[in-house]
Symmetry: C4
Subunit: 227 residues, 4 copies
């Protein structure tokens, strides 16, 4: 089954990218400043690691939710998915660059933070493109999304996409402020209490069974958890 | 089936993190001290590699056991699992930092060892949180755990969590002692002869079949192998 | 089922290799040239990252398509597949080497670009070898390819293989020109509008079902998407 | 099914380790010796990359074959498997160390080559231990191996284990000779024409079916392909 291998490959890329984030965590070792001082001085690396870890983790949840409702694959989807993964794979680079410039200071910190936000914006746009693909033609989803659901999804995708545009603009005003804003966005998505989710509660699945309707989070609303 | 993809993603993260541990193994090459001397001097790197390798390996076994009994997924579980993986992914950093300071000596070796133990403590607490989640509500496990089983599990999770607290405290007395203690804890979990496990012996599984009751190690007791 | 584990292992290698490409993306940090200048100067690294990302991504799609029609495995296939993966795994090295020399200039840029093209040529030849293996003996595919299909496939594999030979030759005339040519080849494969694909459109697959005939892209033509 | 997740985790580790081998491939870039000279000088890195790539690849095939016949899992198997993976994960380190010392020359090249061979010996012994575990108790394999098969398997495991002992000894006589010997062993395993394999030829498997008897290579003999 094709979608399965597409998901397996994507899961692999998410898992490697999220783990490579930790390669940015380093200290200089003995003979330099005290370890406490080093860790304190490098707070941007540690904060950016945690924020990017949850950003990629949430993106993985999103990917899962979005593809669960998709019934077909074609070349367009494959390359939209590759584009999404391109941004995911670049996030450790963006994280390291932003952390280096926030720590070192200087005139380029705003640009480095904007670059980081731009990668997240690219990710958000890729998710939106996959969603738009999925509602085209009417046969790409297991269950067609009703018009109201499409509208709500598009509003939410637009809000997510807008949030990172705000972060890019904010970076040029205050680089640390942009990181704080992105942190807040990530926390929002983690703690967000989607009413329709809590209403239904977790779905019980039989261990050996399969259920197109057993969402990780509530179906139909699942697509727009993050953006 | 959702849990399957959650497990596949987690397996990927465990596999990448356990393999990245080996990036900390390096020697300076010819033109420096003799190879024997370099390897001897860097004993903390090699010992810490082996200890962390088995720590992550045991954590993977634990993860497997814990999730085998879980019947449902929800947002809370997803983010508890992400938090667990955050600590797993940070272990190579903690391992490298501790090894560098144990080798180089100096005043910060205790702090570096405590940092390493703190990452393991974070992992242990994350496992405990997932276990507590799993017994909530009564529908999250395939088979509800009897009250006696819950009590025993909580005692064992507490012991595991306590062990790493002891390691953190010990680190400030003697950094090498803390590593020795953590090594002993890992050996204990590897060789531990769980009576109920040996009584039942390995479970035979049909190749093509599925069996919710064919544990890697004995069911119900499986959850608290490590912590 | 053997083929499944062969595919899973290959997917893992593709996923790690495509993610490691991003390790070549680095900037020197504050205290050096401006960030804009650094990114502009390092354009070969960023362009080569994107080109190699899609080259490996397309190779993964190809791998998927080629193996979908394969019904048996033997030692020969295993080692042809390992040879293919050897070239995939070496692509991040080839990408980094080419980018370094294109950026730094000097007499060796042509050779570095030729090395990169040679790795892609090795990949293309490995795919062709697996295809030739698959049509041998008549029992290795689920559905034997008709003579006309074999002929067309061989023509297309030859064209793909030839393209990278051209790139190798071109590298010695103009290194940047070779990268531009390889970029064009990648774009061609991404946007290529295979008539038979569009005619059938995406295939709907049941979520729980299995269908040997539900290609990612159109069956029978799937094998020679890339080469 | 437990064995499935054990195999998936192991596949992930194999895939990451085989891909990380390529991190040892580097050239110094423009401004140093010519690229041709650098590649020629670093022949040990390139040869060792290819040898280790096929060594890990063959180990993956072996792992597949060995686990295919295993019907049960227990703690002992889990930790034997972790020990095997410990050696697999350390191979990129051993490869880099040997290549550095073979290239740089000096008194420690023999020791570096012996270290590399010792990691392969550890891998071979781990495979042998898993095989011995599998024939214990009589219920751990799907089909018990007849006494003659056990004897032949043990002879072959002993030969494999012996080969790397010879390589360790040879390293102290001639480091390059040891690498040549290990290369020859790898080539032998790749091209080895197992009579029982060729007699049966590849096994046709139904795409959706499962067959405990459809070996990657011939069953029963599969376990001792490599060691």
């Amino acid at each position: 089954m094709d979608k399965t291998r597409l998901e397996a490959f994507s899961d692999g890329v998410f898992a490697v990218a999220i783990t490579l984030l930790a390669l940015n965590l380093t200290v200089a070792g003995p003979g330099h400043e005290s370890l406490v001082r080093q860790v304190v001085d490098r707070w941007p690396s540690f904060l950016a690691f945690v924020v990017s870890f949850f950003a990629i983790g949430i993106a993985w949840v999103n990917h899962h939710s979005l593809f669960k409702s998709i019934a077909t694959t074609d070349r367009t989807l494959l390359f939209l998915n590759l584009t999404l993964l391109l941004f995911i794979v670049a996030i450790p680079f963006g994280t390291a660059t932003m952390a280096t410039y926030l720590q070192g200071g200087g005139a380029d910190a705003p640009l480095a933070a904007a670059l980081y936000a731009a990668l997240l914006e690219g990710m958000a746009l890729s998710f939106a493109a996959i969603f738009v693909w999925s509602i085209g033609d009417g046969k790409r989803r297991y269950r067609p999304l009703p018009a109201r659901g499409v509208g709500r999804a598009l509003v939410r995708f637009s809000i997510g996409t807008l949030a990172y545009l705000v972060a890019i603009a904010l970076a040029f005003v205050n680089a640390v402020g942009a990181l704080a804003f992105i942190t807040a966005v990530a926390i929002y998505y983690v703690v967000e209490h989607n009413p329709s989710t809590s209403a239904e509660g977790p779905t019980r699945t039989d261990q050996g069974g399969r259920s197109a309707d057993s969402p990780l989070i509530t179906a139909d609303h699942a697509d727009f958890v993050f953006q």
